[in-house]
Amino acid sequence: MLRLVFRRLLALAPLLFIVSVLTFSFTSLLPSDPVDLIIGDTGTQEQHEMVRERLGLNQPIVVRYVQWLGRAVRGDLGNSFFNSVSVTGAVMQRLPVTLSLTAVSALIAIIVGIAAGVAAALRPRSWIDRLATVGATIGQAIPNFWFGLLLVAIFAVNLRWFPATGFTPISVSPWDWLRSVTLPAVALGLSSSAAIARQVRSAMVGVLQQDYIRAARAQGLSARRVILKHALTNAMVPVVAVLSFQITVLLGGALIVEQVFAINGLGTLAITAVRQQDIPMIQGLVLVMVGLVVIVQLATDVIYGFLNPKARPS
């Protein structure tokens, strides 16, 4: 298993590199001069030069990139153009928020997706299959932030079961954390559970026709065991293969859903940074996102290897 992790890590390393080059060079194309943004048009030529010097903007882009990367590797993503806070600090402060939301919604999406997909696959064309199919179709057309608004109206404003806004860190109170993360996570997980349900259903329908399922039944194993162990393990193989994509989608969705619940996560940070054209912040955010994506991919690769022995390096 270690060898698998290592091999995948090697394969994913270039991705990190390319993304860093891309974001760095891309954000350096900025049409407006960041110095203008910072000190306004009123500053003197000298002031401009000083700021330019301080930000290292007077050096060639390649040099700037190498310097930036060198610091980034050591965990220093530079400072915001605007309030000089450290990008690493700002991102790390909000990372747990967005991660909580993404992780819980992924969990919900996986559980709901598998349950609905399996139920539908067991009885193709039954009412439950139709319900799941219709549900999945509609689920994928509902914007997650709108669903979030709906949940707020019902469960926060009307029933008062959950807080309408805000986020409590898990370290402060696990219970309040769960309460604050539930509604946004459900809103976020909806369309992914629909997508996963579709995939599980089609994979499961295929697997259930396999010889080994019939052989397991012929051996007198219970239907429950055959479905949940023998069939599902195999049906999850193609699902896990695309799971990292779904989690990436959730990570992106979290940025928007956070706004519905006034949660101060990476989304808020990103939106502010865009409006202010705060380059170091955006570069840092992208890099952190890619880092997360790489970790998720690594994890799903390992699970994939576990479910599918043929994929393991021998």
């Binding site: 270039p14 991705l15 390319i18 993304v19 891309l22 891309f26 954000t27 900025l30 139709r130 179709t137 509609i138 057309a141 914007p143 932030f145 709108w146 608004l149 709906l150 109206a153 926060a156 404003v157 309408a164 396999q210 010889d211 080994y212 019939r214 052989a215 039944r217 012929a218 051996q219 007198g220 194993l221 219970s222 239907a223 023998h230 393990t233 195999n234 990436t248 989608v249 992106g252 969705g253 940025l255 928007i256 706004q259 989304g267 990103a270 939106i271 940074a273 865009v274 409006r275 054209q277 705060d278 380059i279 955010l285 992208v286 996102m289 890619v290 994506v293 991919q297 022995p309 043929k310």
Partner: protein, 643 residues
């Protein structure tokens, strides 16, 4: 005929046909929604009752009224009017972003697909990098450069979604390139680029159309999202996303504000996706918006039993393990009546005996094995007859009871060992699992017993092999494992379905020997299903020949081979290759086994039989006592053959 027609009509109307019959309706509704959207977008100025930007602070956050059908928002603007103008934004957004995506993605994709080499490598790495980041983050980076606003947001989305068009176009070029290479059998030159283009254009259109519908749906959702977080359409302009953003601020005071734009988004996206699905399906099978065919709803009652042949019932024996009488298996059919697959099948097997079930594919022999286990697929059902195993009728058992019987009293070995073992688990764990579930052994006991069983079926280094996955074993080895699993609970009946067919010839004999060995040791009865008479001759005590769902002859092996009585058996025997002759001129029986539902009314072999007479058009019973045969001319023909 008329009775049948009304009957099936009635059946159809009883079925829920949500997708089949309803799909046309759904597509029509989706198309109507999109038409309405376009209409409102174009004529927003004429249709909307108010100016979407006119404020009236006296009238803010009103509910539905005659003046304002959908009420007003926080600034007293008419929600309906804003919704209608939102249609315009939605159409513009979808058109703009999709066009940009097409214009960027397709040419670049064609180019790198055609050029290959470094261009291709670099661009594809960039594309991989872009798609690995959450889409919204990509849009945010681009918007950081461009600034916010509808058109800038759509450029960002256009760039984002261009990656899928790019990959699609590249894929089509690569595929067609291959084609052209193959056809012209030479490396492509400059003059061939026109040929390539001519091949690409017709092939790229269908997937492009599908991808476009997918993109339109995604753009609509993304635009709403970007406007919602304030990076797309800017207030006070009315878009569904900005309307929701306003609504978000008033969820406690006036939650209704979120409903109209939300419904508008969902309906639009849903309609686009549904139309896209239909187009995709249509392209998949040559542009027909045909309703899906329903799988037949199981209606088996209509199939009447084929009257059993009195003589066919085998005489009772004290050491009998399995006794099947008058078995009939039926498949549900399109018109609601059942089509029989097996009729009037009776057989018995004693302890330590091996009965061969022989026939061409399509004769129903494999199905017989599955029917005994009660494992036929959902559309099939055993409609008549009894299956007595150790004195108990399996057909009368509950699901729980028959589950207990499977594995413990009867087990099955399947044709292809590489597919009958679960690829996800080690072979040892699959045997141990059965032992634990059926015999209640502890983990350790089960494992020890498993290793012993693997050793018993003649696999060297059993400890080690038990930890192997199915794909790591050879076919013969895997079949030994499957046999070990089947025998793990010491069943009194083993059903072997073509257990040697998928194996290498050299391995076949070993497996047959293993069966013989194990039978001598465990004493189980074996129902050996095969199409290969030579294999049956090798291992069976008696042979039943099946044809078109019924037994046509049954005899002890020696007698069957010495004097086959049914013309079909004779045909099979003459078609059988002999070890002695190198190039046997195989006289096969002309024609094929007729498919179920097309069986001749009388003797089912009559359309292939050289000895047919007029009397053969009646139903032929199985006759005889120890040897059975289903042919009215059996007596005279066997006499003739003897001369």
């Amino acid at each position: 005929m008329t009775a049948r027609a009304t009957d099936s009509g009635a059946t159809r109307s009883r079925r829920p046909r949500w997708l089949a019959g309803g799909s046309f309706v759904i597509v029509a509704v989706a198309a109507a929604v999109l038409a309405l959207l376009l209409f409102l977008a174009i004529f927003a100025d004429l249709v909307s009752p108010y100016d979407p930007l006119t404020q009236n602070l006296m009238d803010s956050l009103q509910g539905s009224s005659a003046a304002h059908w959908l009420g007003t928002d926080d600034l007293g603007r008419d929600v309906l009017s804003r919704l209608i103008y939102g249609c315009r934004i939605a159409v513009i957004a979808a058109a703009e972003a999709t066009t940009i995506a097409l214009l960027i993605g397709v040419p670049i994709g064609l180019f790198i697909g055609y050029r290959g080499g470094w261009w291709d490598w670099i661009v594809m790495r960039v594309v991989e990098a872009i798609v690995s980041i959450p889409g919204i983050m990509v849009a945010i980076v681009i918007l950081a450069l461009l600034g916010t606003g509808l058109h800038k947001a759509m450029i960002a989305l256009g760039i984002l979604f261009s990656t899928s068009f790019l990959r699609l176009a590249r894929g089509v070029v690569l595929a067609e390139r291959e084609e052209v290479y193959v056809r012209s059998a030479r490396v492509i030159g400059a003059s061939d680029s026109r040929i390539l283009l001519r091949h690409i254009l017709p092939n790229i259109a269908p997937p492009l159309i599908v991808q476009t519908t997918l993109t339109v749906g995604a753009v609509l959702l993304a635009e709403a999202g970007l406007s919602f977080i304030g990076l797309g359409v800017q207030p006070p302009d009315a878009s569904w996303g900005t309307m929701l953003s306003t609504a978000a601020a008033y969820m406690d005071l006036h939650p209704f504000l979120a409903i109209p734009p939300g419904i508008a988004i969902i309906l639009t996206v849903l309609s686009v996706n549904l139309i896209g699905d239909v187009i995709r399906d249509g392209i998949g099978r040559g542009i027909t918006v045909a309703a899906r065919h329903d799988t037949p709803v199981a209606r088996f009652e209509a199939a009447s039993a084929v009257e059993p042949s009195a003589a066919a019932l085998p005489p009772l024996r004290p050491d009998e393990v399995l006794r099947v009488e008058g078995l009939q298996v039926t498949v549900a059919s399109q018109d609601g009546t059942g089509v029989p697959l097996i009729t009037d099948l009776s057989l018995s097997i004693a302890k330590g005996e091996t009965l061969g079930l022989v026939g061409e594919s399509g004769s129903g022999k494999t199905l017989t094995g599955l029917a005994i286990l009660g494992l036929t697929s959902v559309a099939l059902r055993t409609t008549h007859g009894s299956i007595m195993l150790n004195g108990r009728d399996l057909r009368s058992l509950s699901q729980r009871e028959i589950q207990h019987v499977r594995g413990n009293e009867v087990a099955m070995v399947f044709q292809d060992p590489t597919t009958s073992l679960n690829p996800a688990f080690t072979v040892g764990s699959q045997i141990a699992e059965v032992l634990r579930a059926k015999k209640g052994l502890s983990k350790k006991e089960a494992w020890e017993r498993t290793v012993a069983l693997i050793d018993r079926v003649g696999i060297p280094r059993p400890e080690e092999r038990a930890r192997a996955f199915p794909h790591e074993l050879s076919g013969g080895m895997a079949q030994r494992i499957a046999i070990a699993r089947a025998l793990s609970c010491n069943p009194s009946l083993l059903i072997a379905d073509e257990p040697t067919t998928a194996l290498d010839v050299t391995v076949q004999q070993e497996i047959l020997d293993l069966f013989r060995d194990l039978q001598a040791e465990f004493g189980m009865a074996i129902l050996f299903v095969t199409h290969d008479l030579a294999v049956a001759a090798d291992i069976c005590d008696r042979i039943s020949v099946m044809y078109a769902g019924e037994m046509v002859e049954m005899a002890e092996v020696g007698r069957l081979f010495a004097r086959p009585r049914h013309p079909y058996t004779r045909g099979l025997l003459t078609a059988m290759p002999h070890a002695s002759d190198r190039n046997p001129p195989l006289p096969t029986i002309r024609g094929n086994v007729p498919r179920p539902g097309t069986w001749p009314a009388g003797c089912r072999f009559s359309n292939r039989c050289d000895f047919r007479i007029a009397a053969c058009e009646r139903r032929i019973p199985l006759t005889g006592t120890n040897r059975l045969v289903r042919c009215i001319r059996a007596e005279e023909l066997s006499l003739e053959a003897a001369q």
